[in-house]
Symmetry: C2
Subunit: 129 residues, 2 copies
Amino acid sequence: MSAQRARIAEAMLGMPGAFTAEDLHRRVIEVTPGIGLATVYRALAAMQESGAIATVGDRHGSTLLARCERHDHHHHLVCTECGSVVGIDCPLGDAALISAERAGHLVTRHEITLYGLCAICRARADGDA
Amino acid sequence: MSAQRARIAEAMLGMPGAFTAEDLHRRVIEVTPGIGLATVYRALAAMQESGAIATVGDRHGSTLLARCERHDHHHHLVCTECGSVVGIDCPLGDAALISAERAGHLVTRHEITLYGLCAICRARADGDA
DNA sequence: CACTAAGTGAGAAAGATTCTCATATTGGGA
DNA sequence: TCCCAATATGAGAATCTTTCTCACTTAGTG
């Protein structure tokens, strides 16, 4: 692994939750100036391939990514307020499988993403109300 | 509703499944030349707002959309081969709700999308094998 | 140490989507 | 019917994200 990718991976550990390529690049160059945005995109593509990160939505046209502690199959719970992300298990419900079967569809992949407020932002929102 | 939007809505009825803004524009101008791509984007934005269409994925960076017969809450089953789309009911499984609850997360929105082969493409794939 | 494969930085390039602006159309009232 | 405000339109410019090019560097292997 190149020194640049190591710095990028390191910077990623410091990201609180969902982030864009540019968010991460901004953080990376604070510590290591000179690393190009293209390099960040290349590193992200490799990490996505390996399952280290996943797409969890988009923000104004930029792809939102999140680091996955787990590399096995799982889904995400995303806070729309602070961007924090939690990996969750949630197999497809029976209703989905029945619908697919009825349609004769062979399901090879599925995506489930939950959006809402995390415990912290929820408490803050209640406090404000 | 303007004449242009009527033509766009009409053309959309003829789209087989998932389509991009440009796919639809191409189809629209076959029948009614002169309608601009920006107008198609504007019409699509309005339809998405009203729930008449929904995002079902992306293809090489372009957003894939699909017409929804239903305007109530539902999800999609997308054929990765021919792009056909079927609306399905599939409430979140208990596992997902339990995970969210354990995290203290208030879920306000969720997306579930299933990808695979529709009955027709599946049969064709079997035939080829 | 040499060699090959992969990674890098900078900027160009590609693409999708949105915006601008001047013009046109719509629909509801007077 | 006519007027008016609000909204829609077309064309192309502009924006913005992401990928590609190219010349150069680095890493790892034998």
